[in-house]
């Protein structure tokens, strides 16, 4: 056989209704954006799961490295002034 291929890998993101964030649903294979959109629709939204779809070629997604988690996602607990409870409000202040 010549050049058999399973086509390119794409990631699918679905917004379940307007106003909500797009959430990663899974991936599909397709050769171009039109096929990717069609396959994403057929595979991930057969039961009204969404009102809008994003498809992105997987190779264009950069992911952080789990080894960097300590550095990237340090909760910065020393920076207590980032939390509202750090501030002293005058006695009797309301709605703040």
């Amino acid at each position: 056989m010549a050049t058999d291929t399973q086509l390119d890998l794409w990631e699918v993101f679905i917004q379940s209704k307007s106003g909500l964030p797009y959430i990663h649903a899974g991936s599909i294979h397709a050769s171009d954006v039109k096929m990717a959109m069609q396959n994403a629709r057929d595979i991930y939204t057969r039961r009204g799961e969404g009102t809008s779809i994003w498809v992105v070629p997987s190779k264009h997604i950069s992911a952080s490295n789990p080894d960097d988690n300590d550095m990237l996602f340090d909760p910065s607990n020393d920076k207590v002034y980032r939390h509202p409870t750090f501030y002293v409000m005058p006695e009797g202040a309301k709605n703040i």
Partner: protein, 314 residues
Amino acid sequence: MHNEHSDAHFQLRIDNGEHIEPKDYMPEGYRKHLIRQISQHAHSEVIGMQPEGNWITRAPSLRSKQILLAKIQDEGGHGLYLYSAAETLGVSRSELIEQLQSGKAKYSSIFNYPALNWADIGAIGWLVDGAAIVNQVSLQRTSYGPYSRGMVRICKEESFHQRQGYEIMAKMMKGTKEQQDMAQDAMNRWWWPALMMFGPHDTDSPHSSDAVKWKIKRETNDELRQKFIDKTIPQAELIGLKVPDNNIQLDEKTGHYTISEINWDEFYRVISGHGPCNKQRLDHHIKYHEEGAWVREAAEAYKQKHLKKELETA
């Protein structure tokens, strides 16, 4: 300081109930076990389309034809969710298909039994999908993130499959004597293979202990099988079907049914390729994979043509 790339640290994360994601460190055995289990699961969904596909043109009504089409489309979709999950572990779709077609990878041996008549479609939905659901509900809590997310999605869709099967059986049991006999005959043929779907007893299951330690499997083969038995026997009795086992007893103390010993010789015979339809299932898959090659080539050629155009106009 602990080493994040050690098996001990990995096991600690598992014991803490954390999920493992594709880029996280994992022992080679964990990766291999997952690729085997997820791809076997994906192949089962796809091969499982065949015994039912055989009945689309012969469904007894438009309603049942529409339902069967939707169910088979779901099975195809489930196969794709699972192939995607397996691919996050670094194996390609082409490799997975090659492993299926060469016989290196297995699929659930239940699909090597034929669907002889319409009652079989009822029995497959009720018993085969019913057994699969018990397993899949448990796998929603599996430790590998992409597999777990795929399972959640599949479980949402799968319960219609079981209900449509039970509806067919219930309808036939309210029909003529001939229809009742057909339903009972399908029950007789599918009951034992459905119980075998959970795999060998825990004591004889070669991959079980690692899978439980790594929380890939959250419950053992025997625990899952017992759940299925306890759910299904009352469902059979409700519609007047007899479970083909004269030794069934309800243990009043535990609430569990006990059954006769399963015929494991048959299980191993079918797994090793000697079931009624093993050859037919694989031949069919290979035939349509090869006949579809031109579609994939055309799609690739179309993509290349447009890439070239974009470059020229850029």
